[in-house]
Symmetry: C2
Subunit: 542 residues, 2 copies
């Protein structure tokens, strides 16, 4: 079997995922919100119904439309409002705020669905020739504006929908690699791999909707990165279509044949080309597993334990440490009692001997900092909801609460100062104006490396009369704090539009010039995903 039998359905146009799984706040949760964020927060903020939306007419010229139809077949150039609406952007908080408010003016002028690599290449050629912006679209789960169909200098933009590229092209059981097409969502890819007893082990929060190509284009990291690695580290080879031709990169597990050009496409977010196939490391489905929650006295102690694990020889598959506020809030939202201090979660997968050894290593590290085991139940609870948090964001937006997440990474040494700075920046930015109480800022570590770790923040505040402006103020404050305190502007959410103002601080003006030079070489017409990733020559003041 090379194509999956079970397809993941289309997500909602104005919310995270499956509309039938939408979260409804309980009365207790509403009471908790009123108590913490003030009564003004729990005010219903209704969405615009789809029937009231008015999409602008498709601006695609007849010639461009004909060229696209020639590339993929007329049936796969879709200009109907329902299709365009469902490709009008990603799932960032500003994306959702705009669509909920009925602002769909930016919807693409058509949704173009190629069947294979050659058709992708033909679409790019047509767009370059006719001056049409082209926005690659996989799962549409970007939370940083990465799939917003910006026009750049062009009159029209099309969504390049990769969902028809949904095949397993090759599986090598000896080298343990699989070649997957870009448009496969994770559950579909896992279904195909499971037939061979294999798994990717890549499980980010967007697992159910995100695609293989999207993971590669954004340097995704799954929650099990400690065991399976980041997505970029799993990539042996990739194929990308560009307006200037095809790139086939990677043939050996390691090479000294010059710069690693795969690393230019990984994280390129569709501005250099469209990744159509990825050859990935796969592993046997785990024969054993163990998971356990722990309580540790405080965040510093928990961080120390995670560092010991990350720098040791044996790593669990997943480690996660919530700060005291997150530990308390998550327990309260679940209607339970919070453990003392901070909640730490450990999961080990693999062959039985490895699981036993990794479990022992984790217990040793956590006991050394005063941790006490809490059993499996809290992990099972966390795991049951591991892909559901974004549904809660929708429910909070419905209830007039601005809820956002952002993430960074730094060395262990810089982590405490970075956490303090971002927390303070978010608190200050969302505390202005007098009336509402300060925001709630939660933080956890969910990805560890020998040299450092990620920090993942969740912030919730009353949405107020202009939630977009409040979001912008908070984002600006957090981004500046991250840049000033040695963090990367994003550990796994990518750059998109939202992090673009800080890329120059991260790679320097000369680094940005290098990105522009590569862009000119591969996309001289500049049609690929305008307005993303690469800062403009004169980036507007943020």
């Amino acid at each position: 079997m090379t194509a999956p039998t079970h397809r993941v359905g289309e997500p909602a146009w104005d919310a995270w995922g499956d509309p039938t799984r939408a979260h409804r706040l309980t009365d207790d949760q509403r009471a908790l919100i009123s108590q913490v964020l003030g009564g003004a927060a729990a005010t219903d903020a209704p969405r615009t119904p789809e029937t009231e939306l008015r999409l602008p007419r498709s601006a695609l010229s007849p010639a461009a439309r004909a060229a696209l139809a020639a590339a993929v077949g007329p049936a796969h150039v879709n200009t109907r409002p329902a299709a365009r609406l469902r490709r009008a952007g990603g799932k960032s908080t500003p994306d959702l705020l705009r669509r909920r408010a009925g602002d769909v003016a930016g919807a693409p002028d058509a949704v173009v669905s190629p069947a294979d690599h050659d058709q992708v290449a033909a679409v790019l050629a047509a767009c370059a020739e006719h001056g049409v912006a082209v926005v690659p679209f996989g799962g549409g789960t970007s939370v940083v504006g990465g799939v917003e169909p910006l026009r750049g200098d062009f009159a029209a933009a099309v969504c390049l929908d990769l969902r028809r590229l949904d095949r397993l092209l090759a599986l090598d059981p000896v080298a343990r690699t699989a070649t997957l097409q870009a448009g496969l969502r994770t559950p579909e890819a896992e279904e195909l791999l499971a037939d061979y007893g294999m798994t990717l082990g890549h499980r980010p929060q967007s697992y159910e909707y995100a695609t293989i190509g999207g993971y590669a284009a954004t340097r995704s990291a799954g929650q099990d990165s400690a065991g399976y690695g980041r997505f970029d580290s799993m990539v042996l080879a990739l194929r990308a279509a560009t307006p200037r031709g095809t790139l086939d990169l990677g043939r050996a597990p390691a090479s000294a044949a010059g710069p690693d050009l795969r690393q230019l496409l990984l994280g390129s977010e569709g501005v250099f080309g469209v990744i159509t196939e990825v050859t990935l490391r796969v592993r046997p489905l785990p024969a054993a597993e163990h998971e356990e929650a722990w309580s540790v006295p405080d965040f510093a102690a928990g961080t120390e334990a995670l560092r010991a694990l990350a720098q040791g020889g044996l790593r669990p598959t997943l480690v996660r440490l919530s700060d005291p506020v997150e530990t308390y809030v998550n327990a309260a939202l679940a209607g339970g009692e919070a453990p003392r201090g901070c909640l730490a979660v450990v999961r080990c997968e693999g062959d039985p001997a490895h699981v036993a050894a990794a479990r022992e290593a984790a217990a040793t590290a956590l006991r050394a900092v005063g941790g006490t085991p809490l059993g499996e139940e809290p992990v099972a609870h966390w795991r049951a909801g591991r892909y559901s948090a974004p549904y809660l964001r929708d429910a909070l937006l419905d209830a007039g609460v601005l809820a956002e997440t952002l993430e960074t990474a730094a060395t262990w040494t810089r982590l405490p100062g970075l956490r303090r700075a971002v927390t303070d920046a978010l608190t200050a930015a969302l505390s202005g104006g007098g009336a509402p109480p300060p925001p709630l800022v939660l933080c956890h570590i969910s990805h560890v490396y020998p040299e450092g770790a990620s920090l993942y923040f969740t912030v919730a505040a009353a949405a107020g009369p202009d939630p977009l402006e409040r979001w912008r103020a908070a984002k600006r404050a957090a981004g500046d704090a991250i840049a000033a305190h040695g963090g990367t502007i994003t550990h796994h959410h990518a750059v998109g539009t939202d992090h673009r103002p800080w890329l120059g601080a991260e790679v320097g003006d000369l680094g940005v010039e290098v990105l522009r030079a590569v862009k000119r070489a591969l996309d001289p017409a500049g049609v690929l995903n305008p307005g993303k990733l690469i800062p403009e020559a004169a980036e507007p003041d943020r």
Copy 2:
């Protein structure tokens, strides 16, 4: 302490390393060579004495010389013949054949020795302004022509000697990172790190002479890569001077902030800029170690055991598998008896629990394929000579034997076909002309990954009347076989001049265009290391 107390001396100008350690063939070794490669092989091929050499006058213009003197101080612009001779190239077999024959016409026009990053930047600016080719030089151990002072389109070339950049700039014991300047040779870097109880664990055959910057610029892999990782995987951050300014790349242990631009500088071989500082992962000096040799029935069985180890959870620090010919020849050269089948070597370092577990994992994998332990002695013997093999090449060249090594990597699946193809290609290329017996081709695996491994070939043949032409024929045949059978043209020797004809096959014409675009952005005058890495627009027929 930030600078090392013990400096590694300068290597010989016409041979590998320390002249006092030059290898002298024993009578038994000469007899063995005559027997295997024919009597004609063991014919002395004397070197040209230094006193008979005539270097061309330095072609550096007075204006360029003055600009360089302004950049680094007049004392650090050296145009004396002895200095220029010692920077006339690297240690590839063609490099040595040319210099031994007295061909030193290509020596650089000056040796320029900056003291720090800013002086490196000033040298690049001076060279760009005055149209002088500039060849970065660290340890000078390139075996692929990477430091040959080619002029490109310019009248003069200077060697940019990085040896004065020899400081430990920072050590973070919490994050376990060290910032080292580019010109430190490995023993010097290890001396500095040992003061903090730390090590890099990077031990390639060039360990004694190669430098930190050179490792980064060539994507080096140490013999202990299974445990410590390749050099590129140790790099958290790097600083590079380019004619267009400075690049400071990398701040977090992982990031999704766009393409990983560090990976453009790693492996850039001085054509984009000069790496002046590298922030590297370091580890505690190992508390325990264990090493053991094994005999396995054949190469396929040994490969299977290495694959099991590489794909398992616990990897030794070093694994190595010699094919039957290498197993036999190495034993014969040492005057000992060869074990049955193939020699496998395993070494484990770390904390005692890890060493015990990794040792057990290795024993299980090797026993599973019919391996039998041979004890520690063969490993101790191998380890004592781990950095000495290049001295043997000099002795063989003295004795009229062309000895060369080359390496590649591929997936486990492709490895057997690749090994056969390269062996056949080398044998055919060096068997022509009737008289001499076929060459001796040895092979081992010394770097393993979950998806595949490296293959390292040693070939020895009678040098004949035109050893350079024989070398070219063998290189051409091996390179074509590697490209045709799914290998990378180099796993850890880099591209330089010698592998440049195959880079296009590896990254494609469009990949080469991307490299050229980056080159134009960072080095618009094209002064940096001309003739290396990036194929010419019209690469001369190979």
